[in-house]
């Protein structure tokens, strides 16, 4: 039997995915819950909560493809933001250097 799929065991550039804080942040003061981002994202990062005040949440942050910002382009009200790419690159390099020197 093959091992089952576990997104949390994935790595990105040699670094555990769970150590890379890359996913969209929803600005709820702008979001109008049009769900364009959720319709677009093929990785199941978002989840809809129909009966709650926040009708859309980030459900699976580590499913988000590091450096992909495609969903933000679908947002008509510019409510999605991502971390600074350079900071993330620096962080990845740092973690890699540390594990190499161990």
């Amino acid at each position: 039997m093959s091992e089952s799929y576990d997104a949390n065991s994935e790595t990105f550039m040699g670094v555990p995915r769970t150590e890379i804080p890359w996913w969209p942040t929803i600005d709820y003061s702008k979001c109008n819950f049009c769900m364009e981002c959720d319709k677009f994202c093929p990785h199941g990062v978002y989840e809809r909560r129909e009966n709650e005040e926040k009708q859309l949440i980030i459900k699976n942050p580590y499913n988000c493809v590091v450096f992909c910002r495609a969903c933000a382009k679908t947002c008509p009200v510019d409510a999605l933001s991502f971390p600074d790419k350079r900071e993330i690159i620096a962080l990845i390099k740092n973690i890699r250097d540390q594990s190499e020197s161990k």
Binding site: S2, Y5, F67, C68
Partner: protein, 293 residues
């Protein structure tokens, strides 16, 4: 015979980006009155005259946001778009951030002026009918993996990959970039590519365009840093080249490299990417299994 030219802005009145799209189209028409301006609202009613003109025309669309209303109006009619302009990309290109107000501010007008000039350049360039530049790639020696009935290829030498499955092939101070065989197969039949503008500066891991397949829209994440110095225009008419020859005729862009030694630190060569890709193929298989597909 030269085809007539139509320009269709999205006109999104509820967003500043849509208002800019409208302003861009007005600027273009002012400078070049022979172009047919298509009103998306009237088009949406199924206006017969518009439908007839569009069938015989070269079509330029201007979309303000990712809802891409203008593109959708043309796609619905199964017509071919010759060039798409996307306001957020243009805003990045010209480094002008328009405000969010629905009545355009100074920056909004400035951006609209710049984009209109860009469109007019595109129109004049198309008239010159410059020959499509192709790049000689030559024979490639591959690592090959067969999974189910699919054959996956990774060049053994000369290509470097990021974990977003895009490749870069440096040669001197320039480099071609494209997508890997894995990403191409994962996407399925590619029906449309959106290439960046010439001269655009990209940093490593910036997006440098999109492509659309029958299944999805995907972003191209740049493996290198530099300035776009050539784009593979042939893909605009024949996006299937990416499926047929992703490491050769299906290249997307060429860049003037800024510092490839620095870029390389965060890339994999062929021998490193090959097992990485195999792992990804296996993960995809497990994901499908989990979903019960």
């Amino acid at each position: 015979m030269t085809k007539t030219l139509c320009i269709l802005p999205c006109n999104g009145l509820d967003k500043s980006l849509g208002v800019i799209a409208r302003q861009v189209a007005l600027n273009v028409i002012e400078k070049s009155p022979n172009i047919n301006l298509i009103c998306p609202v009237l088009l949406n009613t199924g206006d017969k005259e518009y439908e007839d003109i569009l069938k015989e025309s070269t079509i330029i669309v201007i979309d303000g946001c990712m809802t891409r209303c203008a593109t959708k109006l043309i796609d619905k009619r199964n017509l071919q778009i010759n060039k798409k302009f996307f306001i957020p990309d243009m805003s990045k290109k010209f480094k002008i951030k328009p405000g969010k107000e629905l009545i355009l501010n100074e920056d909004g007008f400035r951006l609209a002026d710049q984009i209109a000039l860009d469109i007019l350049d595109f129109i004049n360039e198309s008239k010159d009918k410059k020959p499509i530049e192709q790049r000689e790639i030559g024979e490639i020696d591959y690592f090959k993996a067969v999974v189910d009935k699919f054959h996956f290829h990774v060049p053994k030498m000369g290509y470097y990959f990021n974990e977003n499955d895009c490749w870069i092939k440096p040669e001197g101070n320039r480099a071609l970039m494209g997508i890997s065989d894995f990403l191409q197969k994962q996407a399925g039949d590619i029906i449309m590519v959106e290439l960046p503008e010439m001269g655009l500066e990209v940093e490593q891991f910036d997006d440098f365009g999109n492509f659309e397949s029958t299944k999805t829209v995907l972003q191209l994440i740049s493996p290198g840093s530099g300035k776009i110095c050539a784009i593979n225009k042939e893909l605009e008419n024949a996006p299937e080249l990416v499926n047929q020859d992703c490491y050769g005729k299906g290249w997307f862009v060429e860049i003037e490299l800024k510092d490839f030694d620095a870029d390389k630190e965060l890339l994999m060569d062929g021998p490193a990417y090959f097992p990485y890709m195999q792992k990804k193929i296996e993960q995809e298989r497990l994901k499908r299994e989990k979903k019960g597909v």
